[in-house]
Amino acid sequence: MPTFFLFGASEGGLFDFDATLPLMAVQVVLLTFILNALFFKPVGKVVEEREDYVNTSRAEAKKKIVEVERLETELKDQLKEARLESQKVILEAEQDSENLYKEALALATSEANASREKARREIDSQRDEALNQLKSEADNLGDLIIERLLAKK
């Protein structure tokens, strides 16, 4: 009995080929078209759109990174320049102030010298005057003393 069912000639059996075969083939082909329309195409579209989106986003981000790096170096250059400039300005200002100081010092020294000189000259002239006066007074006194002495005699 088992062999009859396993390899049954006319009715049943494991290897019972009939119209199931072509019908199943047609069914699978139909399923292929249905799944292509309902599954493979729409899902593929979504997945590929996302892949495109990710790729373009990544490319854009890379471009932005390059731009940022460029700007950064530019800014760094500018910063360096500004630093150099400021150092130069500071140096200049320092020199200027030193010059001014020196000038002022020189001026003040010369003025001081001048006024000292003037004072000395004044002192000298006054001393001379005083000496002259003293001399003339001494002369007068001498004359007076001589007169008195002569008169007493």
Binding site: P2, G13, L14, T20, P22, V43
Partner: protein, 241 residues
């Protein structure tokens, strides 16, 4: 009652019994179509639900569908090649999904609860008609792929790399569908039988690991069938230099 004279709820064995439907002069196996329609219906329902509102940030079933799509694309692309895999991806994917759903549906759904006048419900791939139909479709498609891509130069493949290969390549055209169909058929039927026999002999615990093994083989068989189909198509469209 069939192959083994056992009568036991949930564990009755009927091998080689079919529920015949008469359509004109043709007879078809009703139980195969009933289960395949149910499983295809479930598959289509999943697809329709998952693709109803697709977004760039996938949610819910869309994730599963995209995972499947990606998996099938990788399979088709590695076997068929970058150039033409897009044309054959739906066919390879349908083979994979149909066989996978059939195998797992046959293993997971308790069909035995439904009484049929003759035969019993089970995996559609446990019927030789289904697997031969699938294998013949694969044969047709690799011929079509080769001829449509390379024209008559396709037949260079038979004498490549030397004309000595000619008889072997011709034999291959017959062995390819044979091995494809019998591998799938044998694995799924054997799995069903092993589980049924074990359930009959030891109704508790022991069949469970075998059932898991069955799920594993079912998935592997679907993958093997789809991979080989893709490989055959890839072989047919490959350019020899």
């Amino acid at each position: 009652m069939g192959f083994l004279p056992f009568v036991f709820p949930l564990a009755e064995l009927e091998v080689g019994q079919h529920l015949y439907w008469q359509i004109g002069n043709f007879r078809i196996h009703g139980q195969v179509f009933m289960t395949s329609w149910l499983l295809i219906g479930a598959l289509l329902a999943l697809v329709v639900i998952g693709t109803k509102k697709m977004e760039r940030d996938p949610r819910g079933v869309q994730n599963l569908l995209e995972f499947l799509w990606d998996y099938i694309r990788d399979l088709a692309r590695t076997q068929i090649g970058e150039k033409v895999y897009r044309d054959w991806m739906p066919f390879i994917g349908t083979l994979f999904l149909f066989i996978f759903v059939s195998n797992w549906g046959g293993a997971l759904v308790p069909w035995k609860l439904i009484e049929l006048p003759s035969g019993e419900l089970g995996a559609p791939t446990a019927d030789i008609n289904t697997t031969v139909a699938l294998a013949l479709l694969v044969s047709l498609s690799y011929f079509y792929a080769g001829l449509s891509n390379k024209g008559l130069r396709y037949f260079e493949y038979y004498v490549h790399p030397t004309p000595i290969m000619l008889p072997f390549k011709i034999v291959e055209d017959f062995t390819k569908p044979l091995s494809l169909s019998f591998r799938l058929f044998g694995n799924i039927l054997a799995d069903e039988l092993v589980v049924a026999v074990l359930v009959f002999l030891v109704p508790l615990v022991l069949p469970v690991p075998v059932m898991f093994l069955g799920l594993f083989t079912s998935a592997i068989q679907a993958l093997i069938f789809a991979t080989l189909a893709a490989y055959y198509i890839g072989e047919a469209v490959e350019e020899h230099h």
